[in-house]
Symmetry: C2
Subunit: 320 residues, 2 copies
């Protein structure tokens, strides 16, 4: 900060331009806009960053592996700073040419300064929330659903139909299920669903699996992370990609080690089987996979290796 | 294009807002701004995209491997479209707080619409060419030096000192060496140097190896790609990274296979030895490596494997 203060003191004085030793430009300290465009057939897709959360690795972040092993693995993969974990949040926008379809909405405005950036990323990409025709929710967790509302509690995408996976909608909105929840993670999820989605009961539609939920967007059953957790195939022309949603949390851990369980999985054994089934399919098809928690721009190909899978991040293209 | 025409026809009519079936937003078709910021100690660095060139893989792009093998390897690594190769160009800007230092300048304005974007990326990052204090050239090849001039032939960075590696400056500006060149690649490089750098003869400074070329920026001898080809260590506080320049062209080929020779290497055997030496050092130090031809934002860690090296791309950070 020293150099900014010094520069500010001198700004406007003739000394600034005359002295080559002074700061030429202030330290900026803000990142580039969080959007990235690419084509799938005739469709234009945009990855949108909602931000990322960095926190000390809790000892149960990976529930079936020791904290020491998880921290060592993070270090081996150059994830810094040591002992912390960063989880990014990246919704995807699909422009079919006729429809703007958003899959998942980010954390919304009330959590921390490091998340809730979807509206800013959307604006940087040149679009407004009013233009969105359809919001598809992959599963009912706060980092996917809480962006449905603005800070003032209004609908964040006022002209959009909102589609929820029917199994998740039935599960998380059930007072009976909520009463039965006994672990703190599930309790928090039930409470958040009740608090943030109750006003939408007459507004949302639901969808099943193996359906064309929106033009070119097929729903794929990938339960385990939540009972109704859904992935998608997006197809246009000869191209087809997969939007995995949360088949894994961060790929450095759970894609490389599909038998590791993240603390947020509702049914860890089912989530593990889903990971194998989904990544085996993606690897065989050599399809591009969009991962909500993959590092921005959250695109890659999945390969099988001896112990699990490897993510090959897509190369950034300077054209669309 | 159909949907844009249809939308344009209807724009301004009441029908547009009334009909939910119409395009919500046009296909945009332009990529996000090409800059990415990160910290090295107290320094703020910015990767700046100059664009990328995509061309059919020439049969001598890899001079000591068959075209078929190179094309198969590209496909195995999901580089699309099949049979083509994309080479990105990513200069790096270093803000020490007191000095703005640019390493390499991109292709300049006169080559193609797909390159010469450094000024646009710099503007997107909130900075202007007039603010640059020092331009360090890593080696004298057109994709690194031609951005020294504007379209009109003026100095692109009018207030900057320009520093060239002394061995390259002596080699490429020598009429005697130019007369001896017998291969088309070298002839083109000599011609370009003469054409684009002659007006700078009284303007540039030169630097040697193992010197602090600018504050915190040490020059490292990495010859082979050109006689004076130079890499850099950038250090601030306890942090140190390497700016490799062109120790490899695209890492998918030449970092994975350090014994493959790219057609642009002046002394391929020396370039090969340099690759091993440089990446052995980077792997041992576990240092972040900036690669001019790495996919944007062109940052990663290098690991040894059985047959060569593996690039582990750095995860995009949503904060600086």
């Amino acid at each position: 900060m020293t150099q900014m203060t010094r520069r500010a003191l001198l700004a406007g004085s003739a000394a600034l331009a005359a002295s080559p030793a002074l700061a030429s430009a202030p330290i900026v300290d803000t990142q580039a806009p969080g959007f990235y465009r690419y084509k799938v057939g005739d469709y234009e897709l945009t990855q949108l960053s909602d931000g990322a959360a960095t926190f000390p690795m809790p000892d149960n972040f990976v529930t079936n592996v020791s904290e020491d092993r998880a921290i060592a693995e993070a270090a081996r993969l150059y994830l810094a700073p040591r002992g912390e974990v960063t989880v990014p949040f990246n919704p995807v926008l699909i422009n079919t040419g006729n429809k703007l379809i958003l899959i998942d909405t980010g954390y919304g405005p009330n959590v921390s300064p490091f998340v809730g950036h979807l509206p800013a990323s959307l604006a940087a990409a040149g679009m407004s929330p009013e233009q969105i025709d359809t919001v598809i929710i992959s599963h009912i967790h706060p980092d996917h659903t809480n962006g449905l509302h603005t800070k003032e509690g209004a609908l964040a995408f006022p002209n959009a139909e909102i589609l929820m996976p029917e199994k998740d909608w039935a599960f998380w909105m059930s007072a009976e299920n909520a009463a039965k929840a006994d672990d703190p993670v599930s309790k928090a999820y039930f409470a958040n669903a009740r608090k943030t989605l109750t006003d939408l009961v007459d507004h949302v539609g639901t969808y099943g699996w193996d359906k064309e939920v929106a033009p070119g967007v097929m729903s794929i059953a990938t339960p385990g992370h939540t009972p109704g957790h859904t992935s998608f195939a997006v197809a246009s022309g000869k191209d087809r990609i997969f939007v995995q949603s949360d088949v894994t949390n961060i790929p450095a851990f759970f894609l490389r080690h599909p038998d590791w369980h993240v603390m947020y999985d509702h049914d860890p054994e089912l989530a593990q089987r889903t990971r194998h089934r989904f990544y085996d399919m993606a690897a065989v098809e050599k399809a591009l996979v969009v991962g909500y928690h993959f590092p921005f721009p959250s695109l890659g190909h999945v390969e099988k290796n001896n112990t699990g899978y490897r993510l090959v991040p897509a190369n950034w293209s300077t054209t669309v």
